[in-house]
């Protein structure tokens, strides 16, 4: 099997803080192919954003210690010189953030912010960059782009700002786009529009997308593959159909059960996964999910507490749990 377009292998990110070492990402591996979308889900604090920022080399080398491999198009990014990373960011690999209002500079016009990425990476003239900015605003569906290009972010609505962010991320036709909760700050109808836009643009350009979200509904509608993260580790991975249709890991079961459905009555209580997310400074031994899991006894008296389950099988639909497939199928039924 050839290496995927983006291949993350055994990635570890540790933050050295005053309270101790935060193991934000621990032995994480995944791949994303061009033209496909990987949905990354997991509770708050599971290391989704830290992973995204690591791929673009946006962690400060002083506080964050990284190891493992991040191969983009066959090129190793961990330890790459800053100038190389600056050339890749915004050009080959781009990112959009959760809150488009705070993520855009209040001091510069939308057109300038889009255009400067283009100028930086292509050396285009100011006029050409402006034309390109207008073209991008048209592509992401901003009405009257020739007028709005000179607006400041505060003159845009929330949905338009996120469209502008997307325009800015895509201005250099990146091969990889990381979207960190791109719709969380928006209302539901605008959310759907933004996700449609991302899908359309992906069809046109063949960009690989990593879509980070809390919302399994979003994953079901937009992603091809899914990665479920817990305490900085991958606990389940596979296609959308596999992971959402036939989940193997007890944590994924919890996530799916916590999701409100159209069929649930409005007054039915929301069921979050029992217990609280683990400390990343003192991560529970063995399977980090064991303090919150219902089935350690089933897997074996001490196994879950002492031995870390590996993600298996190595390819295809895999999960990190000591239960046997037969046991899981028995529980789900």
């Amino acid at each position: 099997m050839s290496t995927p377009f983006l291949s993350v292998q055994d990635l570890t990110v540790d933050f050295h803080t005053e309270d101790g070492v935060v193991h934000a990402v621990d032995g994480l591996s995944f791949g994303v192919e061009k033209g496909t979308t990987l949905g990354v889900v997991g509770e708050s604090g599971s290391g989704k954003s830290v992973t995204a920022l690591a791929v673009l080399g946006l962690h400060s080398p002083e506080t964050a210690k990284m190891s493992g491999g991040i191969l983009l198009d066959g090129r190793e990014l961990i330890g790459a010189p800053r100038s190389v990373m600056e050339r890749i960011r915004g050009n080959k690999a781009a990112m959009i953030f959760q809150d488009p209002l705070t993520s855009l500079s209040p001091y510069h016009t939308i057109g300038r912010q889009i255009g400067e990425v283009f100028r930086r990476h292509t050396g285009a003239s100011r006029a050409a960059a402006r034309d390109r900015a207008i073209e991008m605003l048209t592509r992401v569906g901003i009405p009257q782009p020739k007028l709005r290009v000179d607006d400041y972010p505060h003159q845009f609505s929330g949905g338009m700002r996120q469209r502008a962010m997307i325009a800015m991320a895509l201005v250099c036709d990146p091969d990889l786009l990381i979207a960190d909760e791109p719709t969380t700050a928006l209302d539901v109808t605008v959310q759907a529009q933004i996700l449609d836009l991302l899908r359309d643009l992906q069809e046109q350009t063949g960009t690989a997308i990593i879509l980070i979200t809390h919302d399994l509904g979003v994953v079901a509608n937009t992603a091809h593959e899914v990665l479920v993260m817990y305490a900085g580790r991958a606990v389940e991975r596979g296609t959308v159909r596999e992971v959402l249709g036939e989940p193997h890991h007890p944590y994924t079961w919890g996530l799916l059960a916590s999701m409100p459905r159209l069929s649930t009555p409005v007054d039915a209580p929301l069921r979050p996964v029992r217990g609280t997310p683990p400390s990343l400074i003192n991560v529970p031994s063995g399977c980090p999910f064991h303090p919150r899991c219902d089935y350690p006894a089933l897997a074996g008296p001490e196994l879950c507490r002492t031995e870390r389950p590996e993600l298996s099988p190595r390819h295809g639909h895999g999960d990190a749990c000591h239960l046997t497939l037969a046991q899981k199928q028995e529980i789900v039924r």
């Binding site: 990373m85 600056e86 050009n91 953030f97 993520s103 209040p106 990476h121 400041y152």
Partner: protein, 326 residues
């Protein structure tokens, strides 16, 4: 912009009138007799009465104040001293000199002192603040923060007196502080003010360093600075174009306040270095019960603060497009 300026100018004039009124009535709350001071030590009662009349002190307080106020706009006549054209700030109780002339005479001293020091402490403070912010937690940052702590705890008369003694009287490294008009000899002007500039800057730089550092650190943590980095912008352009822009808003606010306060009179600095600026003038006016001079210095000080406030607000609109002036 025009509407903004008109509105603020009207506000400024009203504020100044109120400040003047408060100063005026406070002055008379203190039991001191300016007429006696003006008349001299051995003053016979009829001369004292004459002096009181000439100074207008025999009028009711409110009439005195309105006379002073109208004098500014329309000029006024003084018994025994003749007509004082608008803007008339009156005559000194002490030496009968026209107050306007005295102010115009002293203003360049204070302005020169302020502008020179301000250029130094602004540039130096902001630069060291940026360097510290970019080297957060490293030795350079720690050195800066310790020196700014030391700097801000120093007192002008202490540093100034030491510097005067060692740099001027003992070793003649610097010229004796004095004011020589810029228009006559720019070099002598700068030489005479170098020491006061440096001493004043030492005290003020510390504050700017710390303010710039902390705002810059905050700005560097902003989402849009992260976006700039995620776009592949070079590290230097990220700091200068993005983070510094937000930092300047804060710096300019404080700078405006400081400048206004300094123009009003750097009292301690002027006293330490024997410079005859507005600060000295106002202190002398207080000790001499010289009401017209006191009123004028208060007016200039308050006016400077108000004007710089308006300038700062107008500058905001240029720096931050979210700020609208109406």
């Amino acid at each position: 912009m025009l509407r903004f300026l008109t509105r603020r100018a009207i506000g400024a004039v009203l504020t100044l009138v109120i400040i003047a009124a408060v100063t005026f009535f406070l002055f008379f709350a203190v039991p001191a007799d300016p007429a006696r001071l003006a008349c001299g030590k051995a003053c016979p009662p009829e001369l004292l009465e004459q002096a009181r009349h000439n100074l207008g002190l025999d009028q009711p307080l409110f009439a005195q104040f309105t006379a002073w106020l109208t004098g500014i706009f329309a000029g006024r006549d003084y018994a025994g001293l003749g007509h004082c054209p608008a803007p008339c700030l009156g005559y000194s109780f002490v030496n009968r000199a026209p107050v306007l002339e005295t102010i115009l005479d002293r203003l360049p001293v204070t302005v020169s002192l302020t502008i020179g020091a301000a250029v130094i402490f602004l540039l130096f403070g902001v630069a060291t603040g940026i360097v510290a912010a970019l080297n957060q937690g490293r030795p350079l940052d720690k050195i800066t923060s310790v020196s700014s702590l030391v700097g801000s705890s120093l007192q002008i008369y202490f540093v100034g007196t030491l510097a005067l003694y060692f740099l001027v009287y003992e070793n003649q490294i610097l010229a004796r502080p004095q004011y020589l008009p810029f228009t006559e000899d720019p070099l002598a002007w700068a030489a005479g003010l170098t020491l006061p500039w440096v001493v004043l800057s030492i005290i003020f730089t510390a504050g700017y360093t710390r303010m710039t550092r902390s705002t810059m650190v905050e700005q560097l943590g902003e989402d849009y600075v992260r976006t700039a980095r995620a776009k592949g912008m070079k590290a230097r352009s990220v700091t200068l174009r993005f983070a510094l822009r937000g930092t300047l808003t804060t710096v300019i606010t404080i700078f405006g306040v400081d400048l206004g306060a300094l123009i009003g009179g750097a009292i301690i600095t002027e006293t330490t270095f024997g410079l005859q600026g507005l600060g000295r003038l106002s202190i002398n006016a207080v000790t001499d019960s010289d009401l017209p001079v006191l009123m004028a210095t208060v007016l200039v000080a308050a006016g400077a603060i108000i004007v710089f406030n308006i300038v700062v607000d107008a500058l905001y609109a240029f720096i931050d497009p979210r700020v609208r002036l109406n």
